[in-house]
């Protein structure tokens, strides 16, 4: 448990640095985790050079889902959008620094699924985006 609720996770959950919305934005997408109803929206600004200049998330959910969203936003600012497209499950787990069972993995990966669905311009944040 001390692992799962590492201080960094609780900290990012309680005091997220990248919570909010961007207006205007270049990319915006939102979806739910059908298992628990957690909801995440991701807004991005992308420069002409194709690099993410701003990223914000909004929504509600458990500590794992919200902390991973905050960490993910932090990690993609300054990254080329082409690199963001390549992010997968392991990248999020590395950010969190924990191992997760199949149920909580869904919580952790929600923000990445939403991000990638937005970047690819898809209608739905499906599991296949992060595997």
């Amino acid at each position: 448990m001390d692992d799962l609720y590492r201080e960094v996770i609780i900290e990012h959950y309680k005091n997220p640095s990248y919570r909010g919305k961007l207006d205007p934005h270049d990319i915006s997408f939102a979806d739910n985790n059908p298992l628990c109803g957690d909801h995440i929206q991701v807004d991005l600004r992308v420069g002409e050079d194709g690099v993410v200049s701003e990223a914000r998330f909004d929504g509600h959910g458990c500590a794992i889902s919200q902390a991973s969203a905050d960490l993910l936003m932090e990690s993609i600012i300054g990254k080329p959008i082409e690199e963001v497209k390549q992010l997968n499950k392991q990248d999020v787990l590395d950010l969190l620094g924990i191992d997760l069972g199949p149920v909580r993995l869904k919580c952790a990966l929600l923000s990445l699924k939403v991000l990638k669905a937005g970047v690819y311009g898809l209608g739905e944040a499906s599991d296949s985006l992060v595997e």
Binding site: Y5, C36, G37, D38, C62, A63, I64
Partner: protein, 408 residues
């Protein structure tokens, strides 16, 4: 008569299961599925070891024995809910399938575009989605009896809806989130006065309260074995004989027929008309033993124990700062306590409690619209059954304090 909980706990081998900490598991998730007593586990085991064969039409000893056990279980289940005849008890996979059977067979034969079906705002998805599907297909109309702030059905609004001449009123006997025990007999009486047929989702009531289908005057009543000490994979639909007789079959196949020609068939009589294909035979045997087990305890005693433990749990939970329990007071609800803890997501509550071997459920409990009504996305839910103790409630409360400390 009061239950001897210590004795009952000895009947459930899983309650001996050790957690990572070497303590006994604290199982507070019986509303999702109950644990199974040894009698049920052994009866199913014995069936496969000694009596297994396919039922009906077999003349050999094993087939006759299996058929007798399968039909004997039906008789016990019929008696348990006081059905007039076992042929009014249809085996299904679970409550969900029972409701779908009514939606596919009775409703498709009896409802047309514009016909009104009344549901409630506290329904589980299993009593919402089949009607959504029928609405898309047939253009029926749906209305919902509202839920009040304290988690009760607004019966005045119900009376108003009834003036619109509904064809069907389908409602949960006991909410799986709020725990509210709805006044089923009154809801049914009013529906009948308005000329509507009634379907009771009794998934949570039959396991926990004495339910008498004749006293309720229910037209249809659906429940699952696995929430009442029985196995998964089997449930039942009770129906009034004249309704079931008039309904077209549900699934087609073996066992549901009287006669099959290359281009036609004649359906079998009740209850077999609705039981196509090889059914869950060992599960039926387990189901029969489960109702026997509960009958022996006495459903009045079961309900009394749950009321007592729920009262205690609500009192202890409500004393925790930041905890909000949903639903009515203990005298109007079954053994369910759905709650939120300020500032902590229910998933996190459940996960941290799990580390101490305490099993509760977190999420929307397949009742998303009800959560929306209360403006929350999820709750944590502790639920109680015949083997639950006040000591377990204390462990839950201590666990919640620990969660608060972590998120402090």
């Amino acid at each position: 008569m009061t239950l001897n909980i210590e004795q009952i706990r000895k009947d459930f081998p899983i309650l001996e299961r050790e957690t990572k900490l070497g303590t006994r598991v604290v199982y507070l998730d019986s509303t999702a599925t109950s644990q199974k007593p040894l009698a049920v586990i052994e009866a199913m085991n014995a069936f496969y070891r000694c009596s297994n064969a396919n039922i009906h039409r077999g003349v050999h000893t094993l087939a006759e024995e299996a058929t007798a056990m399968y039909e004997g279980a039906r008789e016990r289940i019929a008696k348990f809910i006081n059905a007039a005849s076992p042929r009014q008890v249809i085996y299904t996979r679970n409550t969900t399938e029972s409701i779908n059977l009514v939606a596919y067979s009775w409703a498709r034969a009896n409802l047309k575009a514009g016909d009104l079906v009344i549901l409630t705002e506290m329904e589980h998805h299993s009593n919402l989605v089949p009607w959504h599907m029928l609405q898309a297909e047939r253009g029926i109309e749906l209305e919902f009896i509202p839920v009040t702030e304290d988690g009760l059905l607004d019966l005045d609004m119900y009376r108003t809806l009834l003036t619109r001449g509904p064809k069907l009123v389908s409602f949960t006997h006991m909410s799986n989130v709020l725990g509210t025990i709805n006044p089923a007999a009154e809801i049914i009486r009013l529906a009948h006065e308005a000329g509507a047929v009634t379907l009771v989702d009794a998934a949570q009531s039959v396991p926990h309260l004495p339910v008498d289908v004749q006293a309720l005057d229910a037209d249809f009543l659906a429940f699952s074995a696995h929430k009442m000490c029985g196995p998964t994979g089997i449930g039942a639909l009770y129906g009034k004989a004249e309704l079931l007789e008039a309904m077209p079959p549900f699934l087609g196949g073996g066992d549901m027929i009287r006669e099959v020609k290359l281009r036609s068939f004649r359906p079998n009589s009740l209850p077999h008309k609705f039981e196509a294909g090889t059914p869950a035979i060992a599960e039926a045997v387990g189901f029969g033993v489960a109702v026997g087990y509960l009958s022996q305890l006495g459903m009045d005693a079961v309900a009394a124990h749950e009321r007592e433990i729920t009262e205690y749990a609500l009192e202890r939970l409500e004393e925790i700062p930041g905890v909000k329990v949903f639903g009515p007071s203990a005298d109007r609800k079954g053994g369910v306590a759905a709650f939120t803890l300020a500032g902590v997501h229910p998933h996190d509550v459940a996960q941290i409690l799990d580390q101490d071997g305490i099993a509760i459920r977190a999420g929307h409990h397949c009742a998303q619209p009800l959560h929306e009504k209360f403006n929350i996305s999820a709750t944590s839910r502790a639920s109680f059954y015949i083997y639950s103790t006040t000591d377990e409630v204390d462990l839950l409360v201590n666990g919640i304090y620990k969660v608060k400390e972590m998120f402090g």
